[in-house]
């Protein structure tokens, strides 16, 4: 527990992403199993001890400390676990001597029930000092909030043992804490964890913005960029899962999709709900048949979904690609060959739940530009360009896939700070400062603020954002909260200019929150250079 508490403490005070990666990597290298596995689980938010809640900690404290003094302290400190770690009355005598190991802590926490927690948790707290208590309570409530995302922890894992992060991502969903097979593979060169028995997430292939690039249509195929959420549908061993962009399992949110695939395959596509907003009603010419993103958003983030919702906003997937089929890995094939496989698959799929993303017929790049301009439909995001011979490669590789978004200018930023509004918004965090990466976020880039927006969202979205800010605050500066930089916001703006007043060197005109991108992980937000490329001074 000492090593873990020290790690938590140092991560708390470390600002640089590289330094955080080094700290975690060092810890994972030097800590024995299974402690390091539990620590990794804690850092990736994979742990939950149902008996220990924030309210449990509050109750324990107010049994021991005057409730008024507890509340004043909690208000000042701003964090229940930290308040408790500082207020906990240390047992008489010397510093604790029988400090538990992290795995002993896990065993004890797992054994606790709602009935026993009020007597067992205090015994554990008595065996630790203030830093240990803080780490324990953060660990037990599963809310570390020390500025480390699950992705960062996995990157640190890869760095620690010098293994490719994409492979870590691929195995990640098939292993459980404390991840013995994952450590055996990465640290000791054992066989990798088996991936053929569970429906695993495969990291997505992603596109670069086209910017000034011009391509020839002989080499590239074009598709519409539909405005839904990118998903991966995986069926293995009789089980189907729906994964979001960030690799979260969202099968429970879209049960109709989880039921719609009954043979072994990994499919890549855009999840949409039925409607007529994008490209009009379902038709031959523009394909159409999809509702607005807003309609889809009503269904996002739900753990269960009502029958009414399933009926009124049924989901379907517009397929872009096939990665695996009937046990065969197609990822090495060129896009054109995979597309043939995909077309052949359509007969085996329910047309209510699947359609094929239509290719845009364009003889030349100029034709494509004209078609894109002509698409007056607000809802279609733009076009995608895919190199016909490109294999399916995880991540964003230059020259293979391009996204060519339509106006207005849009950029994906990460929420950094929020400030309460005034007037009728006085109780809401409604002024948002967001940033872009100043380089490759997996290679130590930092976020730099690029703008501030306080409109563009609906009232419901504002409520959601306000709750997000309150639940993900890592710092307070007077009226401003710093968030954990996990949320991607798609920001629309009219133009961007160079500015000496901002650290990023850029200032946006009329930025507004265009959309909340719950589906997109923060490290995939745009970089400063993408924004800079839009400067038209």
């Amino acid at each position: 527990m000492r090593a873990f508490a020290t790690l938590v403490d140092r991560l708390t005070y470390t600002r640089s992403r590289n330094a955080k990666l080094d700290l975690i990597a060092d810890y994972l290298r030097t800590t024995p199993d299974p402690d390091r596995g539990w620590a990794l689980a804690a850092l990736t938010g994979a742990l939950d001890f149902p008996a220990v809640k924030s309210s449990t900690i509050r109750n324990l404290l107010t049994e021991r400390v005057d409730p008024v003094l507890y509340t004043l302290s909690r208000d000042y400190v701003g964090d229940t676990a930290e308040t408790a770690s500082l207020l906990w009355p240390a047992p008489e005598g010397e510093a604790p001597t029988d400090e538990p190991s992290l795995s002993e802590v896990v065993d004890l926490l797992r054994a606790m029930t709602r009935g026993s927690v009020m007597t067992e948790l205090p015994k554990l707290l008595d065996r630790l000092d203030a830093d240990g208590r803080y780490a324990l309570l953060k660990f037990a409530t599963g809310a570390m909030r020390i500025g480390v995302s699950a992705r960062l922890a996995r990157v640190a894992f890869a760095q620690s043992f010098d293994v490719p992060v994409d492979e870590v991502e691929e195995y990640w969903h098939g292993v459980e804490p404390p991840y013995p097979t994952l450590f055996a593979w990465a640290a000791d060169g054992a066989e990798p964890p088996r991936t053929d028995l569970v429906p695993l997430f495969r990291p997505f292939m992603l596109a670069h913005p086209l910017d000034e690039t011009v391509v020839t249509m002989d080499d590239y195929a074009a598709e519409w960029k539909w405005d839904g959420i990118r998903v991966q549908l995986v069926h293995v061993n009789g089980e189907t899962r729906v994964y979001s962009r960030s690799g979260d399992d969202i099968s429970a949110t879209f049960p109709e999709m989880a039921e719609a695939l009954d043979f072994p395959a990994v499919l890549d596509g855009e999840l949409l709900v039925r409607g007529a907003h994008q490209g009009g009603p379902k038709n031959e010419k523009t394909q159409g048949g999809a509702a607005s993103f807003n309609a889809l958003q009503q269904r996002l983030g739900r753990k269960t979904v009502s029958k009414k919702m399933l009926k009124e906003a049924p989901a379907f997937i517009r397929l872009y690609d096939v990665l695996l089929r009937d046990g065969e890995d197609l990822r090495e094939l060129g896009w054109a060959q995979r597309r043939e496989h995909l077309e052949l698959l359509m007969d085996r799929l329910d047309p209510e739940r699947f359609d094929l993303s239509r290719l845009i017929e364009a003889g030349s790049f100029e034709d494509l530009a004209a078609i894109r301009e002509g698409a007056r439909d607000d809802a279609i995001e733009g076009v995608m360009l895919k190199r016909r011979d490109s294999p399916y490669i995880a991540g964003r590789k230059v020259g293979l896939w391009y996204k060519w978004k339509r106006d207005p200018l849009l950029i994906d930023c990460v929420l950094m700070y929020a400030q309460r509004g005034s007037g009728k918004r006085s109780s809401f965090y409604s002024d948002f400062t967001f940033g872009c990466w100043d380089g490759d976020p997996d290679k130590g880039a930092e976020l730099l603020p690029v703008g501030k927006a306080y409109f563009g969202f609906t009232d419901d979205e504002l409520k959601w954002l306000d709750r997000h800010v309150r639940q993900n605050t890592i710092n307070r500066f007077g009226p401003v909260r710093e968030t954990d930089k996990s949320l991607v916001l798609e920001v629309a703006f009219d133009s961007v200019h160079e500015s000496k007043r901002h650290k990023s060197g850029l200032a946006m005109r009329f930025p507004r929150i265009n959309r909340i991108r719950q589906d997109k992980p923060a490290h995939e937000a745009d970089r400063i250079e993408s924004l800079k490329a839009l400067v038209r001074d």
């Binding site: 005070y13 003094l69 302290s73 930290e82 710092n475």
Partner: protein, 338 residues
């Protein structure tokens, strides 16, 4: 325990700008210019310029002279020697243990005794005389760290952290943010006590005050200016600066610094993070919660008045312990940099 009867004390008027001693027309630590000021110690929020006459200890007057230049009439008040202020009011200064020259002021009038602490602490501090318990009817205390979450650890452990950080970084340096008056000199003295006798480098804003401390008899060992020297020369060194300089352009001159801060606020993680501190050193020149409550018990006044800080919690403690107390809602006393 029965509550003692409420004292009268109509001659003493708490005001948002200070405590007014009506019979002799004098103010204690006023935040606006007045004719007669009784000053507890040299921190800027207690000792301001522009008064007609200032009653203070020799050291506090020297500090005020350094900061504001000589102004008005100076009356040196020796510790523990009563001074007649006229109209039957006597003031006696006692050590407060806060910074060099810091005093509590005992006021006596018509057989009633009031102690105004200014700021104070109970921990040993090699740069100043220790706090003395002065029995009184009304005890006017600060409550800067008046929340039970504040428990200052022994300073030796904090010095160990600082020295370890320095050793771990031969190619960098440790930049310690410390309040220019008191905290900086205490950190230097404690480093010396911990066996560190290398030169310590100073931000320009600390140099004069350290010089004054030495003149007043507090040896600080070898100090060097961090101004105008090559970056390389600071490798492996400890550099002290005011907290505001840590995130300022000034710090660009330092070779790969670890940002440390010596302050009681460092006990709370989020406060340390707010200041971008990487190495929090919990070192305070104020009482922690246990010391505040212990002091009230020892002084055992009929009534406790709380000037500034987290007064709500201290009042609650007094209530829970059947002690009469009130908050004075003073303005202008700051606690950001301790």
């Amino acid at each position: 325990m029965p509550i003692k009867p409420a004292p009268d004390f109509s001659w003493l008027k708490p005001d948002p700008h200070g405590i007014f001693v009506e019979p002799c027309n004098a103010w204690i630590d006023p935040s606006k210019p007045v004719e007669t000021a009784l000053v507890t110690h040299g921190h800027a929020d207690h000792a301001r310029g522009g008064h007609g006459a200032v009653f203070a200890t020799r050291e506090t007057l020297a500090i005020m002279n350094l900061r504001y230049g000589g102004a008005g009439r100076e009356v040196t008040v020796p510790m523990r020697e009563p001074v007649e202020l006229g109209c039957g009011v006597t003031a006696t200064y006692f050590p407060a243990g806060h910074v060099l020259g810091s005093a509590q002021i005992l006021l006596e009038h018509a057989g009633e005794r009031v102690v105004v602490t200014g700021d104070y602490k109970r921990r040993p501090d090699p740069t100043c005389e220790p706090f003395e318990v002065v029995p009184c009817d009304i005890f006017i205390t600060e409550a800067t760290f008046g929340l039970p979450v504040f428990k200052h650890p022994p300073i030796a452990g904090e010095m160990r952290k600082l020295l370890d950080a320095r050793e771990q970084r031969p190619e960098g340096c440790v930049a310690v943010g410390a309040y220019a008056l008191g905290k900086a000199q205490r950190v230097i003295c404690e480093l010396r006590r911990a066996g560190y006798h290398d030169p310590i480098y100073l931000h320009g804003a600390l140099e004069k005050m350290c010089g004054l401390y030495e003149e007043l008899g507090v040896p600080l060992g070898e100090l060097r200016s961090a101004t105008g020297i090559r970056k390389d020369e600071l490798k492996g060194e400890i550099v002290l600066c005011p907290p505001s300089a840590l995130n300022d352009r000034w710090s660009r001159r330092l070779p790969d610094p670890v940002t440390a801060m010596a302050s009681g606020w460092m006990r709370v993680r989020q406060r340390a993070r707010q200041r971008n501190v990487e190495l929090p050193l919990v070192i305070s020149d104020h009482c922690d919660w246990d010391e505040l409550t212990q002091t009230i018990r020892e002084v055992d006044p009929a009534e406790t008045w709380v000037t500034h800080g987290r007064e709500e919690a201290l009042l609650r403690w007094c209530q829970l312990n059947q002690r009469r107390a009130r908050a004075l809602a003073m303005v202008g006393y700051e606690d950001e940099d301790d």
